[in-house]
Amino acid sequence: MPTFSQIHPTLDLAGLGKRARHASDADVRRILARGRASTLEDFAVLISPAAGAHLESLCRLSQAATRRFFGRTIRMFAPIYLSNECVNICRYCGFSRNNPIPRITLTVQQVEREVRLLAGRGFRSLLIVAGEHPKFVSNGYVEEVIRRLLPVMPSLALELGPLETQDYIPMVAAGAEGLVVYQETYDRQTYAELHVAGPKKHYGWRMDTPERAYAAGFRRLGIGALYGLHEWRYEALSVAAHAQHLLRACWKAQVNISLPRMRPAAGGFAPKFHMTDRELVQAVAAYRLLLPHAGLVLSTREPPALRDGLVPLGITTMSAGSSTEPGGYSNHFDETTWTPNSEQPGEQFHIADERPPQEIAAMIRRQGYEPVWKDFDQALVSRPEPAAPVASPAS
């Protein structure tokens, strides 16, 4: 079966883009009457300006579809950054190797300390993030971290530089169950302009990462584009097509879509394209109507009011109280209030919603949803019986 990097160039994205810009009101009403999108053409209609005029109806359908499959629940997770060392030069990223930020790589013990703090806040699901560096993020370091964290954090997903299947296999064996990799932009020319040095230059290699990860045994695959780098409808169509491909090619994996929008970061990159709040909401609803079983992930990049509004509309997973600097929770957070109490010069980007996890959880409950902290068990990935835990969550 061809990989997505082979399929993507064959998609009629120009035609779909035209449909996404010029769909008629009648086109939109036809799909709304059906209650779902069946094809990329339908999806294109749902992300059109014409569909934007029907946002309320779109959101009602999205809400109902999300509740049927996911219930009235929101899964909670936290990112933990292991290292901001990176060999790539990416014009928009705070970790770009030419940015003069303090470079930090945590020891395994320092990671454990961070995770003890996160466990005390209720998290049982982590996204382990690291910059791409063969010296600092290598030689079994990630596997060791996974093994040490698993007894406390049963659900572990990774967001690392793309690797070969054979490099992912030991990480899966150690207990990681998810792999997240954003293509950043699916437009090849824009991609080349933004990724000027390092292995991240390889556009097709990156695009096929989820499939290599699936071959290694990951159960959850996260994809997405970074809105702001290129025209958002083009990216949304590409992400939707990518998700559809993964549902066929990686049938045992849960596919999750993230919707990160550009945030201020070291390097001062100014995005050329802007996705409005309404367009973000429209994209959430459109993804839901095309992909009723896909997880939709919302990070702390987005401001509080928007995050609150999106809870009942189609989102299934949220982070809360996040730090994007390695060691940020230990070094820059007030342990009592769980809010940043100092600058984080080594952060990847500055978050917009700094509310602590318990405040987010209370907000979710006020909206009639339940924050779910644990939705996976170590027993699913561990054999034989797990070792004694290294840290106990605070009660």
Partner: protein
């Protein structure tokens, strides 16, 4: 015997035969899943109101470590003197994982009953027949009471009964679809051939679906999504309880025998007797 249900929803309906599964008797033929609720408190209240005596819980949501994890405390809301708490193995991709989870549940103090849910496809959550059969064989031999969730496959149902499962649980339609008894024809065959109770599980979206399943001859139904995401889960649970009871009454009375032709209410040959 478990606490007898006090469900006002069934107060005006005739009593029906209790259901025996393994060594337990159940007066309510409505089993309820505990996922998707907007809060554990509301889940607890809805379960109480509908009079169910068997509830399922996904082990992946529960604290199996014994540390009383306050962020995985769903089991604290399921009263063991009121319900048989039936752990399910949702999240397991294969027999090995399901067996590991089941053993862990018993080690954590849950009953040695297990609802086998093995769905490697996380999108439609359809059960894997091969892995389910393998896991059932292992767990029955270890003394578990096994209730397998399956597609409405009559042959698989027979093979599972051959290895000693306590019920078979064919889906009506995919989990969360609320489309009712799409697999009706296959379910009828399973019921006809069954030597253990048949519990229709998944896809029951309306009380009328639940009634229909009982009228068809299913011994019970398991409902989760339709109650959990209803605008009023307490009322929805009560509606399902009434529907299940009504369907069972109809079945016990032998109602609803259909005919292609009209049948006169006054027999034509009564003059001969």
């Amino acid at each position: 015997m478990l606490h007898k249900p006090d469900c006002s929803a069934m107060a005006h309906l005739p009593n029906t035969e209790p259901l025996r599964v393994a060594d337990r008797l159940f007066h309510s033929r409505l089993f309820v899943g505990t996922g998707k609720f907007s809060s554990n408190e509301l889940m607890r209240d809805a379960l109480r109101a509908c009079g169910t005596e068997l509830v399922t819980v996904a082990l992946k949501r529960a604290d199996l470590s014994g540390r009383n994890d306050p962020f995985a405390d769903i089991l604290n809301f399921l009263e063991p003197d009121r319900y048989l708490v039936l752990p399910n193995t949702a999240g397991a991709m294969n027999a090995e994982e399901a067996v590991r989870l089941a053993r862990l549940a018993v080690a954590a103090g849950l009953p040695n009953w297990v609802k086998l849910e093995i769905h490697p496809d996380p999108n439609y959550l359809l059960p894997d027949p091969i892995e389910t059969l393998k896991a059932a064989e292992v767990l029955v031999k270890e003394g578990f009471v096994v209730l397998p969730y399956i597609n409405a496959d009559p042959v698989l149902a027979r093979r599972l009964q051959d290895v000693g499962v306590a019920t078979v649980m064919p889906l009506g339609s995919p989990i969360g679809s609320n489309r009712g008894l799409e697999c009706r024809a296959q379910i009828e065959i399973i019921i006809e051939q069954a030597q253990v109770p048949v519990v229709v599980d998944a896809g029951i979206g309306l009380p009328s679906h639940a009634s229909a399943a009982l009228e068809l001859g299913a011994d019970a139904v398991l409902v989760n999504t339709a109650i959990a995401i209803a605008a009023d889960p307490i009322a929805a649970g009560q509606a399902f309880a009434a529907a299940v009871q009504a369907g069972r009454v109809a079945r016990e009375l032998g109602m609803g025998v259909t005919s292609q032709r009209a049948v006169a209410t006054s027999p034509l040959t009564s003059f001969l007797s």
